[in-house]
């Protein structure tokens, strides 16, 4: 079966681990994140008419972009950027993170998850922000780990992009 390494990156507290928990049944304890700095899960999806095993590397979120460990990004076939829609700073730092990823592993398919979409009253992102993402060549969609909205779609979109990278969102 085709396997793809997907890295989940984002600032501290954006909900990466919750997204993964929502998406897969976890084997490893969350403690791995704070001890080793990464936790790996997997989920099988159908993409391009074949089964694909997504190996999800959930990287520990940090307060500073420079503290994100680039070693774990090595060899990634796709990256899921996670932004907390209720915390504007996590959106601002996204571009910095994207640069770090690009610098480390080059251009790989990616999707931006604008997470916590269930908290509409605290939402800080405007339509203009989403347009900015588009202009930066980033494909974004709103997700909620709490309600499950958009979670499947985000991973599916990324899976499709990694299996057939040509013409897919970057």
């Amino acid at each position: 079966m085709l396997q793809k390494k997907i890295c989940m990156v984002g600032m501290f507290g954006t909900g990466k681990t919750c997204l993964v928990q929502r998406y897969v049944h976890s084997l490893f304890s969350v403690k791995y994140l704070t001890t080793v700095g990464v936790k790996i899960d997997r989920r099988e999806v159908q993409s391009g008419g074949q089964p694909v095993m997504l190996m999800l590397w959930d990287l520990e979120g940090r307060d500073e972009v420079r503290n994100i460990n680039p070693s774990y990004l090595k060899g990634a076939h796709g990256v899921l950027y996670v932004v907390d829609g209720t915390r504007r700073d996590t959106f601002e730092k996204l571009f910095e993170i994207r640069d770090l990823v690009k610098h480390t592993i080059g251009d790989v398919p990616s999707v931006v998850a604008l997470n916590k979409s269930d908290l509409t009253d605290q939402w800080t992102l405007a339509a203009a922000d989403e347009r900015r993402l588009g202009s930066e060549g980033l494909s974004a969609l709103q997700t909620s780990a709490k309600s499950g909205t958009g979670v499947e779609a985000a991973f599916q979109r990324l899976a499709d992009a990694t299996v057939a990278p040509t013409g897919a969102p970057r």
Partner: protein
Amino acid sequence: MFEERPNGATEFAALRELLVGPERQQLDELADRVDAVAVTPHLLADQLPEAIALRASRDGQLGRALAPTIETALRESIRRNPREVATAIFPVLGPAIRKAIAETMAGLVRSINSAVEHSFTIQGIRWRIEAWRTGARYADVVIKHSLVYRVEQVFLVHAETGLLLAHVTAPDLDVPDADLISGMLAAIQDFVRDSFRPAEGGTLSTFTVGEHTVHVEAGPGALLAAVVRGQCPEVVPQRLQRTLEQIHLEYGSSLGDFEGDAAPFASATTLLEENLETVLSTDRTAERGARAWLRWALPLAAIVLLAGGLATASWLRWRRAVRLIEAEPGYVVIDASRSWRRWRFRGLKDPAARDPRAVLAALGSAPPAVAGDWKPYLSLDSAMVVARARRALAAPPSATTALAGDTLRVGGSASLDWMRTLRTAPAIGGVAHIDASAVQATLPARIGELRRAIEGTRILFEPGSARVTEAEAAKLRGLAASMRRLADSVAAIGASVRVELVGRTDPTGTDATNQSLANLRVDAVIRQLVASAVPVAALEGRPVATARPLAAADVAERARINRSVSFEPVVSIGTAPRGP
């Protein structure tokens, strides 16, 4: 001459033109063509390998000329992209380094061995005792206890992505999350590298979890990890290293182009399976497979030991047989020999001696064929004399016989008829006299009954009295009749009988009083018996008073029955001592 010179030169040129003109023109054309031919890259490419080979076969000039250039090129290449060069020489470098390390390690192991050899731990002592007890070498015992391990799983992990390329497990194991473990193995490698920043190329090679040890061999394109249960010997990581090198050789390009499809690595499972292994402590001989000589030496030693054991057992049995015959009365062994199937004896044998087979029955199991060349002789061994005498006298089993000097003492019991034959016994070698005084004659049933009736009768007295009461007097009259009948019956078989009268008292009173009381009681009874026609000569008084009291549980009863006179008939048959 001066003026002629120019003219001469002109003439010479003219002459030359005349003689070699066409040839010169050809020569000039050739020179022009040679100048026109430039060494093109195409021409060089065609000729270069052959040219290099040709020159190299002639001398070492080419090598010397190229060396500095190649060194510079290599240095530049390494400076620009060290990873590429490292990847290229990785399969070659491994074996070379391993060989060097193996030599160093061999020396180290030797010194460790000697340290272990001299260690004085409790375990060391226990193993030493085991070695001493089993006769094994100490080093072998140590190996037996330490070499127990099992390689349970082997993971082939893509170094860059951490994705699982191939995975094999021991037959009875089920590992559903191999891909996750594979990822974490790669992640942990990264984690350790980032955390401790080891020197170039350093990796986490071993970690232990309970009784499991995980060995990780890292190559430029892939990691090979083995999960080992138990004590992992050095051979496991060495084999992993070789497998990893082989994988890099065979799958180098697939590793480089890996995009998540592990299909090209399916065939690598065969290589991985070579690393799966279960070694139990009982396999330790198999572990030393290189020492193939053990395979035949051990059975051979067993056969030699068995044959030696059997031969020794047979020899010991033979020695015992010879000793048995020598110790047997009536045998003198002069010569004894044995072959595979027969034991031979030569010597003297008393005709009364037991059969040799009966003697050898003491060996337990049936001896082989026994051949005896025995000359008859008379043994003076007491056992033989006794045996001979018993045979000559036809002694019944109830009669005992023993030799004292040259006198045969006969005891036990025997019939009166047999006792009479002793008087006319034939001469017996080794016996001068026969003493049959201790033999109890076996009496006819009638006599026995009378004897028991007399023995069962007891005449009782009042305390302190020697007067025979009326009731006791009646008993005495019956007793007198029994005595007369016994005397008649005994006389009929040519023997005589005498009855001892045992007079007793109770323990009351002084010894002197009791003794005289006993005398009186005996006398009183004798008088009554004589009055009833019992010949006095057949009676013998034995007043024991309190010396041999009759036993009874109750004190009063004991006193009562001891105030009595009881009767002990003695039948005697006169036998005269006789010589041979």
